[in-house]
């Protein structure tokens, strides 16, 4: 990504969706889109690949279940065996509820923290907002000015077809808009 972008604002989600498709159709690179709420179908229009968080979630869940089963078995059968109702020390059914809870806990926390790490969200991180109105009533599309061939005027003309209300060029300092 170059360090110059074109920021376009729209008033309606349908305009944003159509513009996103058209911009991608031109072979331009979309940095990101910002909307006040989740817009259905935007991920498809932007051509985002499916999230890999599900794998993090699944693997964390398996680690939670497997690790807890091993731990419970170690406690109950190896480290401190106690006779409960005459049942065998390594009784699997009694281990299942805690293993299930551990799977859910690890899968949940694992997904959330993986998301924070991947999107570099930490406490105290300065908010970088391209357009404040994207938090209110505007739909904002950020297009990468990938190379010298990027024709701002032509792109603006294309965006006019979708009732763009504002376009401006932005040259964010190091790290780009999304940092």
């Amino acid at each position: 990504m170059s360090d110059r972008v074109l920021v376009a604002s729209f008033e309606h989600e349908d305009d944003l969706l159509a513009a996103t498709r058209a911009v991608r159709g031109r072979g331009l690179h979309i940095v990101d889109a910002f909307t006040p709420y989740a817009v259905h179908g935007l991920d498809k229009a932007m051509g985002l690949r499916s999230s890999r968080l599900t794998w993090v979630c699944f693997i964390c869940g398996m680690i939670g279940a497997g690790g807890m089963l091993w731990f419970e078995n170690w406690i109950a059968a190896v480290a401190w065996p106690i006779d409960v109702g005459g049942k065998p020390w390594n009784s699997l059914p009694s281990d299942v509820p805690v293993a299930f809870e551990a799977a859910v806990l690890l899968a949940g926390f694992g997904s959330v923290f993986a998301l924070f790490i991947v999107s570099r969200l930490f406490p105290g991180r300065a908010a970088r907002i391209v357009d404040l109105r994207a938090t209110d009533d505007r739909f904002v599309l950020v297009i990468d000015q990938a190379d010298a061939a990027f024709d701002v005027a032509a792109v603006e003309e294309l965006l006019q077809e979708f009732d763009v209300v504002e376009t401006r060029e932005l040259a964010p300092s190091k790290g780009g808009v999304l940092g």
Binding site: H40, G41, F58, G85, K87, P93, S94, V96, P97
Partner: protein, 406 residues
């Protein structure tokens, strides 16, 4: 008015053949092996009832949650709900045909001090009257729900949606109480000394799984080329039904295990009897099979997103789940009624006269399954064809047609 016919005559003939063939074999079997045939009929009637009730519950749940995504294919669960009169009456006939199968007249003799309430509750007349009341309530409420939805096709009155939401809330409350009691009265009472307080929710879990699988199969069949839901029932609807099936398969396993674990942990003889006869000895592999079909297969296969959006995968999983539902009900019914030590000889193996202590899949099971598939298929096709295939004036229809599953 002639109803449109959505499926070829071959399909119809095939379903008729299954129905008549299964029926004739069972009719002969009713004389030769009455216990075994009755148990299979009980299973089949209860299965059909869960399809019908499940459709009604699906419709009611979507009304009370204000859902709009399902409207495009709502006629499918509605068609299932319209099976309630037939399924309910079939159930009542099966129950009335052989009340002696329920062992309660003698069960209390050895435990008078703990059995008094059961004796009262399971008095045959009271028991039968209750069954009629349950079925009548379901037919009345679910029938009204579906009829009003069809009335909206003409008037387009949005007040019908609001009214159906209230009616659905009432139906769900009535359903929750009566279906719990019905599953206890009709299935759990086969072993009158045994009890489980999770029986109602366990049967609910199975019922909703059955219903979702049937909705998926019918939806996929009806969206093929030339069928009425072609281009209407899309992959986003399928995706959400897949999520629900995945979720409720896990729910079934959760409830199954919860029931098992509490009984295993407490280890009281009158509670453990049910699981000892099933998880120890020759029935244990069937329990494993039931868990594989009802939970492991849907869980593993439906976990990835592309699987839930693929018609071919969803069709197969739904069929596996429906087979799993039969196995689960088989495990609820058969071991409670087993009478002898086992079957021997080739003739006894194919035409067993009683329910043996060993799990057994013979001609009566095949015939009852044929009858179930034939009757359910014919009734569902007829019921679907008798109304407009899409609720054309439902206020949520547009939302449903443009629905995107996340």
């Amino acid at each position: 008015m002639t109803s449109p016919s959505y499926f070829s005559n071959d399909v119809r003939r095939c379903l008729n053949g299954l129905m008549v063939g299964g029926g004739v074999v069972l009719a002969c079997g009713a004389v030769y092996a009455p216990d075994r045939v009755w148990a299979n009929l009980l299973l089949a009637a209860f299965y059909l009832l869960t399809v019908a009730l499940g459709g009604a519950v699906f419709v009611a749940l979507t009304y009370v949650t204000g859902a709009g995504w399902h409207v495009a294919f709502r006629r499918v669960p509605e068609a299932m709900a319209r099976l309630l009169p037939a399924a309910g009456i079939a159930m009542l006939l099966v129950l009335a045909a052989r009340m002696s199968a329920y062992g309660w007249p003698h069960a209390g003799e050895h435990h008078p001090e703990t059995f008094w309430f059961k004796e009262l509750w399971l008095t045959p007349t009271f028991w039968m009257v209750r069954a009629v009341v349950y079925v009548a309530l379901w037919i009345l409420l679910a029938g009204r729900l579906v009829a009003r939805s069809q009335k909206q096709d003409v008037s387009g009155d949005p007040a019908i949606t609001a009214g159906n939401t209230r009616l659905s809330a009432l139906f769900l409350i009535v359903y929750a109480v009566t279906f719990s009691l019905a599953s206890v009265d009709w299935i759990m009472a086969l072993e009158p000394m045994w009890f489980s307080t999770m029986w109602g929710v366990y049967n609910f879990a199975g019922m909703i799984q059955t219903a979702l699988a049937v909705v998926i199969i019918l939806g996929l069949l009806l969206r093929r080329h030339g069928q009425p839901l072609h281009g209407v029932f899309n992959n986003d609807h399928l995706h959400d039904l897949g999520k629900l099936l995945l979720g409720f398969s896990c729910f079934w396993m959760y409830i199954w295990f919860s029931q098992y674990m509490l009984i295993w942990y407490t280890n009281i003889p009158e509670e453990t009897s049910y699981f000892i006869s099933r998880t120890k000895g020759p029935w244990a592999p069937v329990v494993v099979l039931s868990i594989v079909l009802n939970w492991i297969v849907p869980f593993i296969v439906l976990l990835p997103k592309p699987a839930k959006r693929s018609g071919a995968v969803m069709m197969r999983v739904a069929v596996v789940v429906l087979i799993g539902r039969w196995v689960d009900l088989y495990l609820m019914v058969m071991p409670s009624l087993m009478t002898d030590g086992g079957t021997s000889g080739i003739r006894q193996r194919i035409f067993p006269q009683t329910i043996s202590a060993v799990p057994d899949f013979a001609i009566w099971e095949v015939a009852a399954l044929c009858l179930l598939v034939g009757v359910a298929g014919r009734l569902l096709l007829r019921s679907f064809a008798s109304a407009s295939p899409i609720p054309g004036k439902d206020p949520y229809l547009k939302e449903s047609l443009h629905y995107h599953a996340g």
